[in-house]
Amino acid sequence: MKIQMNVNGQERILDVPPLRRLIDILREDMGLVAAKIGCGEGECGACNVLVDGEAVSACLIPAVQIDGCRIVTLEGLATSNDDALAALHGAFLEHDASQCGACIPGIVMTCRGMFDDLRNRRPSEAEVRGLLAGHLCRCTGYEAIVRGILKWLEMKSEP
């Protein structure tokens, strides 16, 4: 089937089978490999990208459901000089939040998806941990990741 979508700001028309997974379309058909395949069943968050502004797991989304949608991957944030990404990047570097890095693109997309909701208030540490509920970090660097996100939010709430 033909699907039309906007990926990282560019209009694309693809001819794909209706149940092909979004993660495979991104990685194999379009060469966008920042989103990773971890579990392939919605548990680990390594494949998270933004669809119409919401962070979702691309391993569970069929082609037919992205027709007409706006998709943003980490590559898209990186090339659009996204301020929120730059700030998160800095906070993660400061706190050594990334070890092997496999889980990080997904975590970044989840954080970015919540940005508008989080920017005007300071969520508690518990809430930040709740945000990470759908992410598995096999290097078990959760503490550093939580500290990095809290630092990022501190920077965000400065004028």
Binding site: P18, L19, R20, G40, L60, V64, G130, A133, H135
Partner: protein, 296 residues
């Protein structure tokens, strides 16, 4: 190269009317609705099942059916409203704090953005987290086929393990919560699971009711998940505590009633004995509450 599912059959109607006409004209062909896909697609993507089911993709019905709103009779949750949409509705979450409690322990933020309330109920899993909450709030299902609409109370909606009253040509249109519990001063949602989020419940419990300053309970409704083939109300316990204080006699009676009416199973996640003990403790924990506003 990953699987392409070249033979999969999917049809995407443009609106609700078209969807219902399509189902009417293709009865007996096995078409199944596809909402967020977080249950429907897992056997195909994770377990490698062949995609033999033809799917009726409901995504283009979002403008019509993705809403959560208050009406004069209660709250209406459109069939394509997600768990995130419930959490984002402050009015609903402040009126019934157990809705927010439940959603916070439902899957992960990314799954909550896709998972619909209607899909969860239609999936008819005994481990559904939202089911006990909606049972306790006496929700109703509004469904439709090409000929018209009907209402079914949620506790009559499931007919057995993974089975519902829905006919093959029927879709859930909305889930309705009647304005019945606005005066309740106690409510609780608890999910017993290996992790606080993103894991399947070993059992869960939602309860709501009103307790006066003397400790007398009224309008108590208690619902449990994973304690039988479908999520269910503990009606006998509700009647036993109605207009009573939860004293030692009442406690023993409630315990005996739970043991004679619940039918938990033993599986790889927990034993029947464990589930029974935990369910009894959760129900007692709720009814033990002292007077005053208490929502958790």
């Amino acid at each position: 190269m990953s699987r392409t599912f070249a033979d999969a059959k999917v049809h995407t109607p443009a609106n609700l009317e078209e969807a219902l006409d399509f189902l009417a004209n293709h009865a007996n062909e096995g078409w199944k609705p596809l909402a967020g896909g977080t249950d429907a697609l897992v056997p195909i993507y994770r377990d490698g099942a062949e995609p033999t089911t033809p799917w009726l993709n409901l995504q283009k019905l979002r403008p019509e059916l993705r809403f959560v709103r208050r009406t004069s009779n209660g709250f209406e949750i459109g069939a394509l409203a997600t768990i995130s949409d419930l959490m984002a509705n402050r009015d609903l979450c402040e009126t019934y704090p157990i809705v927010r409690q439940c959603c916070q322990h439902f899957a992960s933020p990314a799954i909550r953005h896709r998972a619909t309330v209607a899909g969860n109920l239609a999936n008819a899993s005994p481990a559904s987290d939202i089911a006990p909450v909606l049972l306790a709030l006496e929700a109703e299902i509004e469904s439709a086929n090409h000929a018209g609409r009907r209402f079914v109370t949620l506790d009559a909606f499931w007919t057995g393990y993974k089975a519902t009253v829905l006919a093959p040509d029927e879709l859930i249109v909305s889930v309705r919560i009647p304005h019945r519990d606005l005066a309740a001063n106690a409510s609780m949602f608890r999910k017993v699971a290996p992790r606080a989020s993103n894991s399947i419940a070993l059992l869960n419990c939602a309860a709501i009711g009103t307790r006066d300053s003397a400790g007398t309970w009224t309008n108590v409704r208690i619902a449990l998940g994973c304690m039988g083939p479908v999520p269910m109300r503990a009606r006998k316990v509700e009647s036993a505590v109605e207009d009573h204080r939860f004293d030692d006699t009442c406690r023993e009676e409630a315990k005996a009633l739970l043991q004679s009416t619940l039918r938990p199973i033993t599986d790889y996640r927990a034993t029947a004995e464990y589930r029974m003990l935990a369910a009894t403790n959760l129900v007692s924990a709720f009814l033990d509450r002292t007077a005053g506003n208490w929502h958790s």
